[in-house]
Symmetry: C2
Subunit: 582 residues, 2 copies
């Protein structure tokens, strides 16, 4: 017996197409239709027919073996044999996150092939793996942000069972798994939701398509769709948490914001399951309310990405000042980020043409993720270059030390740990010729505005753009990759064994720097991280005896009240007596 | 010496047109232009010329003697001789507010003629007068929500000095004065702001025109414009507070919402001036955050209009169930409003097609205004009929008793206190023929959708529609107006002398009712308000000895455990012993 149920409030008649015959569905409250079908079971294909029209995939299809336009397939979650009974994830405040994209993480680009790399991640010291979106999207490859069947793991990655095997294997390796979910829009291809109900609204718009209807008529059922999606990944796929894409594209004037509802529902599932579940938001709002507990008037999201920290770090390490980097570029900004999470806490932003953000009073550092690279910061560049192509090895090591010693939850983007040379470019595989052309041209136009020549922009639809973006694990055998990997391992190991680095109290972070001499030092408990970004050897001053714990260059020399450091180097020192000043 | 200053960030050149000659202005930071002009002074006409174009009125014009399209006039606020030194307004939680529209409150329709009625308001027991918008709008008359020069009191009402005389006279009569300000859109005629800068955005829209740019590039200066406007009314015109129109049409994703910024700036001015200033929002959001103090994560607005209470009351008293009244109509809804402020505190709304609102946990009743009528609830009806045309005198008295004994700040709409027969219809006086026609046709179309014939809809542009809406004070000589006025006076006097009625603790309100017998009783401290809406005499039960304080009908009879009440009557009883049950 299988229950088929679909929300189609505008339809006068809904039928289930199963085994070549049309089965009538009966109307329920609030626009739902249902049909209990004794002949249906796991693995059977089906579709819905609204008012005698086309056969459409189920908006909540659990499995799309033929892609976004094809039939949906019945999935019985109880058939999978999990081996992770008793699994408890490491807590988020002590996490080291690794963002990965299934399609490019391994040559095969599947869930199963990624399992082969879990031991590597475990040895690197990673605690949480974060998967870029896996919901069924148009074509055989893509970043995943164009998902159309939000309940179905992409068939090309290995479908539902492949994903379950991956999560199960992660748990067996002691790794928690987070999933990136996109609730602010749907992809341009295969999105049939609007035929079923008012999932979208024209009252607001996003850069990627119509905005989701979170506060208009019918929004209760639309929210149900997205909340149920979140609960499904956590319950049926055993994910340990979700990363919610671009919440700044949620338009929602309701008294109980969607995010708060989602956080509340996830907390209730957490209590029910008895294991910790976390929500991490991508937010461009610099709005502390997002990660403030609901008891204190916030939305109750556990943590958020912190682009200000990234931008501050990236711009001092690369010297880049274009686009949003125009708001950054000083060591003072890096210091502000370390002490305050938001560089823009109400300060005026030139890039935005207005003041931006608000001081995150009282929020601990582990409400924020800190990173030098993400899929966005790499992939949204015209040519998808990683930091390894934009700075020397010394600076890569400095960036890693800051990220991994900062008061934030550190995150690495796949390959960052060894300074991968391969790019991560924007790739798509849309099948509709018009859409394919529009995406290729759109990309060229976007960068033409910044002075790029069309010929220099990789074509997102070119299969080479995809394969060029795959991690080349053979690089690990060569320098500087081998020593970069070792450096990251050392830093992660230091962070994980040192409680001071997980201390979230931002008011305990002390930063000193000289803009003219281009050095900076910051203190975390009994440790000081000192770095020299100048082209000369510098003495970074401090006022206590220290011992060298780690240094990126052999010739870092400890003096009585300073550390002498070569150009583009970083050192981690331990305070010997309990001096307060650095 | 007069300083002219204007924000025109897109202009390459700005000139001041003064006395027939063009004076160059110099560019300042952030897109401002200035000119210190020694030859200019109070009463001189001027305009701005952007890039050699038309002469435009000053966006911040303090005086538009020739209407929205004409020259602006220099105003020296220091010339007015105020007589209200030492004025301190009554506190908001004990207020009885009277909403009035200058154009229809008196036959002359001016600030000065309204002064002649202040003694009447004082004797009625009013504490706060709330003026519908007075900022310069298109034409000689209108409701005021189409304001185009937000800093200039309408020339037809008497301009800046007329308004100051009015406020001064209110204070002399012991009356506080609030002003209705519209910051969510500008009127369709005379709105030159878009020529000066990015005041509006196309990212969002309102039913009345382009949305104000509160969170995009340049929004800091746009917010400055509106905040400075608020501060001007409070500082230079001595207003005691503002009513902020339709905050649900503010679209604002910034970390410090505009409303919170405005509330903060007003609180700082309050401290500076040493007298209390209040902000009241019109909100359709049922979002407690609006009137929650900033310390508790709210926006810090003092109080908000409460339409749920109105709708619950109106629908039980009139039997109307169309439009938004479909969500109301039971005594249970009236009870929920009395105990909870919001009837929709997360419950599903049929009218909205979604759950609506949130429980206002811990907020006192005086964060909400309670009313049976407002300019909107009367004027947005096809024919602008007041409650006096929709219910009998008995029910008018019931409505008044509930409003004036409820835990909310009571508000009356001009003429309500005597059951005025005159309507308050939608009237405009646009001069542009196309706009005039569009407004007339728009009104007809809007109501055609509800089955109205065009001929039955008053034409907003017909001068008769305006004059028909003027209060006819001669009605006061006749019944039932004389006794309705007396009833309101008795209730207001009772409220003002009885501390229990100003007690804001909603959890102290006890309500009992019988839907089938159509009676309801609610308790406020030592008082019980009992009403019978059935067509028969009813015994409303209670469990303590009570004494009659006020009754709308002579034949209300107190029994030992009940009060016997004729159809459509209300009685206010005092508890004799300290029994807790009613």
């Amino acid at each position: 017996m299988t229950l088929f149920r679909v929300w189609a409030p505008l339809a006068a008649n809904v039928q289930l197409l199963l085994d070549g015959s049309l089965v009538p569905m009966s109307s329920e409250q609030n626009g739902y239709w249902r049909c209990d079908c004794s002949s249906a079971g796991h693995g059977m294909d089906y579709a819905f027919v609204l008012d005698g029209g086309d056969a459409l995939p189920d908006p909540r299809s659990p499995w799309q073996p033929y892609g976004v336009h094809g039939r949906s397939r019945v999935l019985d979650h109880s058939r999978f044999r999990w081996s992770d009974a008793g699994w408890r994830p490491p807590i988020l405040s002590s996490a080291v996150i690794y963002e990965l994209h299934i399609g490019t993480f391994t040559p095969e680009g599947t869930f199963d092939s990624a399992v082969g790399r879990l031991e590597y991640l475990q040895q690197l010291g990673i605690t949480h793996v974060e998967l870029m979106p896996v919901a069924e999207f148009s074509g055989a490859w893509g970043w995943g942000y164009d998902g159309a069947d939000l309940f179905a793991p992409h068939h090309g990655y290995g479908g539902p069972d492949g994903l379950k095997r991956f999560v199960d294997a992660c748990h067996a390796a002691g790794l928690a798994v987070l999933l990136d979910v996109v609730y602010n829009h749907l992809g341009p291809s295969g999105n049939y939701l609007g035929r079923f109900g008012p999932y979208f609204t024209t009252r607001y718009s996003t850069p990627w398509g119509p905005a989701v209807n979170l506060d208009g008529a019918g929004s209760s059922e639309v929210r149900r769709f997205f909340c149920d999606n979140a609960l499904m990944w956590l319950r049926d796929y055993h994910f340990d948490g979700l990363r919610i894409d671009a919440i700044h594209a949620f338009f929602d004037l309701s008294a109980v914001p969607f995010l708060e509802q989602l956080a509340g529902e996830v907390k209730r599932l957490e209590a029910h399951l008895g294991r910790s579940l976390v929500l991490i938001a991508e937010s461009d709002l610099n709005e502390p309310r997002v990660v403030t507990p609901t008891e204190a008037g916030g939305y109750g999201i556990d943590a958020q990405w912190s682009d200000d920290f990234h931008h501050a770090l990236h711009s001092v390490l690369t010297g880049e000042r274009a686009g949003y980097y125009q708001d950054f570029g000083t060591l003072g900004d890096v210091g502000r980020a370390l002490e305050n999470a938001f560089v823009f806490d109400g300060r005026r932003s030139l890039f935005r043409g207005r003041p931006h953000g608000r001081k995150p009073e009282g929020l601990p550092g582990w409400r924020f993720l800190g990173y030098l690279q993400t899929h966005d910061q790499v992939g949204n560049r015209a040519k998808g270059e990683r930091s390894s192509r934009l700075m020397n090895v010394g600076r890569l090591k400095i960036g890693a030390a800051i990220v991994l010693c900062a008061p934030f939850i550190p995150m690495l983007f796949q390959g960052e740990e060894f300074g991968a040379d391969t790019p991560f470019q924007y790739f798509t595989n849309h099948e509709e010729p018009d859409l394919a052309r529009a995406v290729s041209e759109g990309r060229r136009k976007e960068f033409a505005a910044f002075g790029w020549k069309a010929a220099d922009i990789p074509d997102p639809q070119d299969p080479e753009t995809f394969s060029r973006s795959k991690i080349n694990w053979a690089e690990l055998e060569r320098e500087p990759h081998t020593s970069l990997l070792a450096w990251h391992k050392q830093l992660i190991a230091l962070r994980r064994r040192t409680p001071e680095f997980a201390d979230g109290r931002l008011d305990q972070v002390e930063v000193r720097f000289s803009e003219s001499e281009q050095w900076l030092a910051f203190r975390r408990g009994g440790y000081v991280i000192a770095l020299n970004l100048s082209q000369e050897t510098r003495r970074v001053p401090f006022a206590f005896p220290g011992a060298l714990v780690l240094a990126s260059e052999a010739d870092c020399i400890i003096h009585k009240t300073s550390v002498e450091m070569p150009s583009d180097s970083v050192a981690i020192l331990r305070v010997i007596n309990n001096g307060r000043d650095i």
